[in-house]
Amino acid sequence: MLRESPPVTSHCTPLGRAHPGFRGRIDAIDAKGNASGLSSEELERRLIELGFVEGASVEILHEGAIGRDPIAVRVDSATVALRRREAMAVLVV
């Protein structure tokens, strides 16, 4: 929780592609063109409500047995389960 605003970088990857053990910081939330069936605004709001905001530290703790989905992600002080499809909107560095 002790952190400064992250530097803006161009080489960020979607959290939805990361493997267990990955540690990083959220660079941006970009829900445009997401495959979740929600509008990009709505998915963005839901992600923020669970603590996914720029600068938060993330770590992938676990993944499901089938299709490596869903994933359990540590977001700062909380653990959140979500599917990789939605995690694609979370860009991490």
Binding site: M1, L38, L43, E49, V53, E54, I66, S77, A81, R83
Partner: protein
């Protein structure tokens, strides 16, 4: 407190994110002085209670459903939003809000709090679970936090005796001001982001976090969320749960059974022979006793569900099951409602409110009654005990327990199959909505709150046994006793009763699935509640047989194994519960879905029982 207390009782509302220990705090504050009812028009539970402070003040408290935001995406969250905003017609708006936060996880709670502040009502913040926060080395500067948030902040350990003293003291000190202007509007993503940044800044300034998160939770999750070990653990937990329901309850059940046996004999000896004696011994004691005997099993099942929930395991189960359930067109979140349906489909269907997508919710509601509810246990145990030999398989597994497990498995398999079919027919082109869920840290359940939950469940069951089931027992006794046999009749008296007339009328329809007219009779009162069928069979057979024998041995003598198996299979599927159908109507706000549920379950029950009966017969049963 200021003079406003004289005008009437002060109302406060507890608001917080899910898993913040809000209900534990509510229980600690109100003790037994609480009432659980429904908000009018919706099936959202309304929990209200009264707090008496040491200084003699009296507050009324409502415990609002947990939410991350006032955006209200589900009926539960709508109640929270409307209650906080004072929009509920049935409810006087709260005079102030008590925001509850898990001290180990403040980020989401403080963001919600900043949103709540815009409503303009006086507020205080309770930092719950301070014991866990301290143990983990989280240091919170309460004074600084209070200054930054502009409201009183107190700490609490809801599960410990005296753990809410600070909250009580603050309630005595709290200066109630009138509500300011409400500037709340539905937050956009940008608003939420700004709030979260502000919350994070406040936390940075007043909270010192340890470098490492909860190590116990990480170590447990390494096994319990492991792709393979996690699933194995889940199935072991479920298997232990069902074996426990079947074996632990036995001594207590025998005790209750014997108790009612003695009561019946006593009443039989005390009362003069005739209608009254028959009514008391056969109708009342026999009927109610045969249902009450299942209380221990229902309590053990609820004990497991409550413990798993309080431990924080239920969300993990949803995580593990999401992909498997997704294959059947169900949402991972449906796992919790469906697991609750093992106890009773009614709370299960009500729990589907956590699923915010309407289609997902409807599918879950549609299949929830297929999960083996506790009301089926009386029926299953009776038939299994009477027809399945009490032997062990592979040296340690009870055959009876295995059959029971099989019946549960059949319920689960059919629920998954039906939901896959429903998804295919009704909304195949729809996207499946997101699965996003917080996984709370593991916590030892507080014995008091578990006992409290068990007590509520037991009360509900006893209330049902005392009202619906009792009334149905009396009705079936009446149907089976009147009109009385004419003078000089040769057959047993029940052959001349109304029950026999109804039974004989529907018997031809049920004959192809191996049911005789006695079963046909028992199924009718069994519509009130499944377990009533046991009492009904008891009444039908004990009257027609004349003797006060065990229902089970009576059935073993009267039914073929094929009939018994068909009866078991009928009960996996049959929509034999009027209350469940009523809840489906209420939750979906439509008759259509209620009739669809009734129709498909009846059709499945008939077809499956038909197949079972004929296959069993062909195999010589």
């Amino acid at each position: 407190m200021n003079a406003m207390t004289d005008a009437g009782i002060v109302r406060c509302a507890l608001v917080g994110t899910p898993n913040c220990g809000k209900t534990a705090l509510f229980n600690a504050l109100t003790g037994s002085r609480q009432k659980v009812a429904n908000y009018p028009g919706v099936t959202v539970e309304r929990k209200a209670g009264v707090v008496h402070t040491p200084a003699g003040l009296c507050y009324s408290v409502v415990d609002l459903p947990g939410t991350y935001s006032l955006r209200a995406r589900s009926p539960d969250e709508e109640i929270t939003r409307d209650a906080v905003l004072g929009r509920l017609a049935s409810e006087t708006p709260p005079d102030f809000l008590i925001c509850v936060a898990d001290a180990t996880n403040l980020r989401l709670a403080l963001r919600l709090l900043l949103e709540l502040k815009r409503v303009g009502r006086p507020m205080m913040l309770v930092l719950n679970m301070m014991d866990i926060a301290k143990r983990r080395g989280i240091e919170i500067d309460v004074k600084k936090l209070s200054a930054a948030l502009g409201m009183p902040v107190v700490t609490a350990i809801s599960v410990r005796k005296g753990g809410t003293d600070a909250v009580m003291a603050e309630l005595d000190r709290f200066v109630l001001t009138s509500a300011g202007d409400c500037s709340w509007t539905v937050p956009s993503a940008a608003n939420l982001r700004t709030d979260q940044r502000e919350a994070d800044a406040i936390i940075r300034a007043s909270v010192k976090m340890p470098a490492k998160p909860d190590t116990l939770t990480s170590r447990l999750d390494a096994v319990l969320l492991h792709p393979v070990a996690g699933l194995v653990s889940l199935f072991v937990i479920l298997f232990v749960m069902f074996q426990a329901v079947f074996t632990w309850a036995q001594p207590l059940m025998n005790l209750i059974d014997q108790g009612f046996g003695i009561l019946g004999t006593q009443a039989h000896d005390l009362l003069p022979p005739g209608i009254l004696q028959s009514f008391i011994t056969d109708g009342v004691i026999g009927g109610v006793g045969s249902v009450l005997v299942f209380l221990p099993q229902i309590l053990i099942l609820f004990l497991f569900i409550l413990l798993l929930e309080d431990l924080g395991y239920m969300a993990r189960a949803a995580f593990l099951m999401d992909k498997i359930m997704g294959g059947a067109g169900l949402h991972g979140r449906a796992f919790i409602p469906l697991l609750s349906s093992f106890a009773c489909a009614i709370p299960g269907i009500m729990a589907t409110r956590v699923i915010d997508n309407k289609k997902d919710r409807l599918t879950t509601i549609l299949v929830a009654p297929l999960m083996t509810c506790s009301a089926r246990i009386p029926v299953y145990t009776l038939i299994i005990a009477a027809f399945i030999p009490n032997t062990t398989v592979a040296g340690f597994l009870s055959l009876q327990g295995l059959v029971m497990f099989g019946l549960y498995a059949a319920g689960i398999a059919s629920a998954l199959a039906v939901s896959a079919v429903a998804k295919f027919f009704f909304w195949r082109q729809e996207m499946s909505p997101p699965f996003m869920l917080e996984l709370p840290d593991y916590k030892l359940p507080a014995p008091k709150s578990v006992l409290f939950g068990l007590f509520t469940r037991a009360k509900a069951f006893l209330y049902r046994a005392g009202t619906t089931i009792f009334a149905m027992t009396v009705l079936i006794w009446f149907l089976a006793s009147f009109p009385t046999a004419p003078a000089g009749a040769t057959g047993p008296a029940i052959e001349y009763s109304f029950a026999a007339m109804i039974g004989h009328a529907i018997a031809p329809i049920l004959a192809p699935i191996g049911f005789n007219w006695q079963i046909s009779i028992a199924l009718i009162p069994g519509m009130a509640a499944r377990e009533v069928a046991v009492a009904a069979l008891g009444t039908v057979y004990s009257i027609s047989g004349g003797a006060e024998n065990q229902v089970g041995s009576m059935l073993a003598a009267q039914w073929s194994l094929a009939t018994a198996l068909a009866f078991l299979v009928w009960y996996i599927f049959a929509p034999q519960c009027a209350s469940t159908l009523a809840v489906i109507k209420r939750e979906t706000q439509s008759w259509k879905w209620m009739w669809i549920t009734f129709g498909y379950m009846l059709a499945l029950a008939y077809l499956a029982a038909f197949a079972t009966f004929h296959i069993a017969r062909a195999l010589g049963a």
